[in-house]
């Protein structure tokens, strides 16, 4: 891959680590889409960083030929933010589960989106905690029976896309991992977006949500109407908290300066062409 003239192929991004996922897990579709998106974008592995939290889905960086960090449960976004701010030229992709991103990591989701950190955040939403063997997530529908809610979940679910918009994300999309082509396209667009792009990928957990998930979701799939106004919060809102549909596509997309843009802007003004001060010069300010 270091020969950037060569055309990239999805397989170039495979590592020799075998995924630990269950047969039939939706995350395979996400991974395959990611290989394709990386190839389509001709990303250089050594200039790409994939950061995740902890969960079945968060195992993903291990399977991607790039720099990768499978970090702590819920902390993918602070780490990814640190990477991007420290080395703005890198392509940074954060990935993880719905529990990782909305339960324990919900606050970082809010603030990374608000700051418009230029990275793609890909959530593998299976409406459950997969790795810990099937407890309710903040995305699990009310009434559902899970390991932690054997009499039915008493809590309502949130819509990750609605949250992302309220948080200030500048690009918000929804995809279904069973549709690798569509997912690849959306992932490519998310990575290309200048700013914080949130892609919620419905990625069924066959082990704890049942084998029918794939089928049920497929039945609910809808595409956005062609005239959907991506720049309108209100328009996007109409495709959130959907009861009987899973509408895929780019719900929302606007442009505003990213955090790096703002930081560079300040730096530019403050430095005003002057060379960076030495320690001695800084010390003079204490005289």
């Amino acid at each position: 891959m270091s020969d950037s003239a060569a055309v990239s192929k999805p397989n170039d991004y495979k590592t020799d680590l075998k995924p630990v996922w269950c047969p039939g897990c939706g995350d395979f579709g996400v991974l395959n889409s990611l290989y394709r998106a990386f190839a389509d974008l001709e990303l250089e592995p050594h200039n790409s960083v994939v950061v995740s939290g902890i969960g079945c889905s968060s195992r993903l960086p291990g399977y991607v030929e790039s720099y990768g960090f499978n970090s702590l449960h819920g902390r993918a976004l602070p780490i990814a933010t640190g990477v991007k701010l420290a080395a703005p030229d890198l392509t940074v992709v954060a990935v993880g589960g719905d529990g990782d991103g909305i339960a324990i990591g919900g606050n970082h989701f809010l603030h990374a989106a608000r700051r418009n950190v230029d990275l793609a955040y890909i959530m593998m939403d299976n409406e459950i905690y997969g790795l810990t063997k099937g407890q309710a997530a903040p995305t699990t529908p009310t009434g559902d029976k899970t390991k932690s809610t054997i009499y039915g979940n008493p809590e309502p679910a949130v819509d990750p896309c609605e949250l992302a918009i309220a948080f200030g994300a500048t690009w918000v999309g929804r995809a279904f991992s069973g549709d690798v082509k569509g997912t690849t396209e959306l992932m490519t667009a998310a990575i290309k977006h200048h700013g914080f792009a949130f892609l919620n990928i419905i990625s069924p957990c066959v082990t704890w949500r049942g084998d029918d998930q794939h089928k049920e979701i497929r039945a609910k799939l809808r595409a956005l109407p062609a005239d959907h106004d991506r720049s309108s919060r209100a328009a996007a809102l109409a495709y959130t908290r959907e009861a009987d549909a899973v509408t895929c596509g780019v719900l929302y997309s606007v442009e505003r300066p990213t955090l790096v843009d703002e930081i560079f802007d300040i730096r530019w003004k403050v430095q005003n062409g002057a060379p960076p001060p030495t320690t001695r010069e800084i010390l003079q300010s204490f005289l």
């Binding site: 590592t15 291990g62 990768g68 970090s71 902390r75 602070p78 640190g82 420290a86 430095q271 204490f286």
Partner: protein, 590 residues
């Protein structure tokens, strides 16, 4: 006979201008090359409550705030109540106070009490009581030989940007104060003994420990700071917020401390030296991420400025009670380095050390400072800020040819590639992993990697500045203390020496890994041992005991809660008690 060491405290409430007055005295003195140590204290009110400012001025370098104050200015006795246990007038102190303030206590011993109509003087001179602090400055200048012209110049500088009339009134008030001061001189001969005698020297820098640490970060090549505001460490954020853009670095104020240390791990993973700064509650929140830094071997530096605990505790006051958490906080076997600065200058050096060590050993390094040195201001010569910087080693071509991020080398230190380096790609994680970074849960791998991660600490066996030693060899009593306690302990050594008692001190800067061999040697060289710390539960003593054998029968402990600075007198008295035939000090093992 004039003095070479004078401590002035000013006490009042919000509008009294206490802090400004103290700042002006300190600044002027530093410009004239006097050594200064300045501390402030406040009541719970966010604005307008009680406040105090204590300035110690010395011809010789100063070790710690003084135990008692030579000159006390009180604008209101009600405000003074809050500080009465911290700001204690000396037996022969001169106390100047607003004569209109009720409930003045009586002078004790040789004290000279001077009730003055400060507000009245200000009103007469400048038309408003607002400049009573400036009147007071004038009085202090003339009575105690402070650098009058420098203070006047500082006043002109400070108020120069205001309307001309304002400045004029300020100068009038100052002059009125000077006059009053001169008049008072003659009223009592005790005043002359408190006059400061000094000759000009090179101007000195004046800064707080937090500022020194922030400068150190820039000096060490740190170009990423992420933090969340918290007293008493926010000055690091503020200072770097100002300077990082100038040096091309990044400052991120995060949503909380979890994110702060997370961003630091990310930035460091990406190849940039990175820092966060916090206090106890924040350090507690960082626990889990510190274990990741150790596990994934990502260098991080964490400055923790201790305050009173537990919980939200006493945010504005000092204590040494985060020690155990710094040493052991976080689940699992988590190697880390803990280094404790002993004074303001050392906040600089310890922080540079921390970056050097973190980059070499690829692990978390905690700089364990405290409010006492973090927020007090000290004067320092510019020459005090030299410190060699060590940068991260990037992998060689050979190492990249067959790259394994966690290669199990002899030293335990493995070559660290960072994003952007072709051929260095790896996937790391906080799961136990093999040499390539792949998750692995086998016991044999776990044991090997634990050993590798801990082995790295052996590099510090040769760390040069692990311990500060003071006093004679083979002393009658050896004091072991750490961090900001050094100042008062060393002060006490001098007093004890003057009484003919040979006392020495052993102050580990490197707390973990602990310099055990040096400590054993020290213990063997002294007759009695006194452990001194500002922690109710005696954390340092417990830690010492876990590292070295403290001899039963001759080990003593002075440990107490914080929210009051350690004083040399306390230490001196404890030593005297221990060495007296009928001793009753806390002996540790009866």
């Amino acid at each position: 006979m004039p003095t070479q060491d004078l401590t002035i405290a000013i006490v009042g409430s919000g509008g009294d201008g206490v802090i400004t007055a103290g700042e002006l005295v300190a600044q002027a003195a530093a410009r004239r090359g006097l050594h200064v140590m300045k501390t402030e204290a406040y009541g719970p009110q966010i604005r307008g409550g009680e406040s105090s400012c204590t300035v110690r001025l010395g011809v010789e370098p100063l070790l710690a705030p003084s135990d008692t104050v030579d000159v006390l200015v009180v604008f209101g006795w009600a405000d003074y109540q809050r500080f009465r246990s911290e700001i204690v007038p000396a037996r022969d102190a001169i106390v100047i106070y607003e004569s209109a303030s009720p409930a003045a206590p009586a002078a004790e011993a040789d004290q000279l009490f001077l009730p003055l109509p400060l507000e009245q003087l200000a009103r007469n001179a400048a038309g408003s009581t607002a400049s009573k602090n400036v009147v007071t400055l004038g009085i202090l200048c003339e009575m105690f030989g402070l650098p009058t012209e420098s203070i006047e110049a500082a006043l002109r500088h400070k108020f120069g940007r205001k309307k001309a009339a304002v400045l004029e009134n300020v100068v009038k008030a100052f002059e009125a104060g000077c006059r009053t001061g001169r008049e008072l001189m003659a009223t009592d001969e005790r005043i002359a003994a408190k006059r400061l005698a000094f000759s000009d020297a090179e101007p000195l820098l004046m800064m707080s420990g937090n500022e020194a640490a922030a400068v150190a970060a820039v000096h060490a090549g740190c170009r990423f700071f992420a933090g969340y505001p918290i007293t008493p460490s926010s000055e690091v954020l503020h200072f770097l917020g100002e300077w990082m853009p100038k040096v091309g670095g990044v400052v991120l104020q995060t949503e909380d401390e979890l994110a702060a240390i997370g961003a630091v791990v990310g930035a460091s993973f990406a190849g940039v030296k990175a820092l966060t700064s916090t206090s106890g509650p924040g350090l507690s929140l960082m626990s889990e991420m510190i274990t990741l830094s150790a596990m994934a071997e990502v260098p991080t530096v964490i400055i923790n400025v201790q305050r009173g605990g537990p919980s939200t505790g006493i945010p504005t006051k000092s204590e040494q009670s985060d020690l155990m958490h710094a040493l052991y906080g976080g689940h699992g076997d988590t190697p880390r380095v803990v280094i404790a600065p002993v004074d303001v200058a050392d906040c600089f050096h310890a922080t540079v050390d921390a970056f050097n060590i973190a980059e070499q050993l690829q692990m978390p390094v905690i700089v364990l400072s405290d409010q006492a040195i973090g927020q007090r201001k000290e004067t320092l010569p510019i020459g005090a800020f030299e410190h060699k910087v060590i940068d991260r080693r990037t992998p060689t071509a050979d190492e990249l040819a067959d790259y394994a991020r966690y290669r199990d080398t002899k030293s335990g230190i493995s070559p660290m590639a960072t994003p952007g380096i072709p051929g260095g790609t790896y996937q790391t994680n906080g799961l136990e992993h093999d040499e390539s970074g792949r998750p692995n849960s086998m016991h044999v791998v776990h044991e090997k990697m634990n050993a590798k991660r801990y082995r790295k600490l052996a590099e510090l066996d040769s760390f040069a500045d692990a311990v500060r030693r003071h006093g004679p060899k083979n002393a009658k009593i050896g004091i072991i203390c750490w961090g900001s306690s050094q100042g008062s302990v060393v002060d006490a050594l001098g007093r004890l020496a003057a009484k003919g008692i040979a006392a020495s001190a052993f102050v580990p800067r490197l707390l973990s890994p602990f310099p055990a061999a040096a400590a054993r040697e020290f213990i063997a060289s002294v007759e009695q041992i006194l452990v001194v710390e500002i922690s109710f539960s005696g954390q340092f003593h417990a830690y010492l005991r876990s590292c070295i054998d403290l001899p039963a029968g001759r080990t003593h402990l002075l440990s107490r809660s914080g929210a009051k600075n350690l004083t040399a007198i306390e230490v001196e008295q404890e030593v005297t008690r221990i060495l007296s035939p009928s001793r009753d000090s806390k002996e540790v093992y009866a």
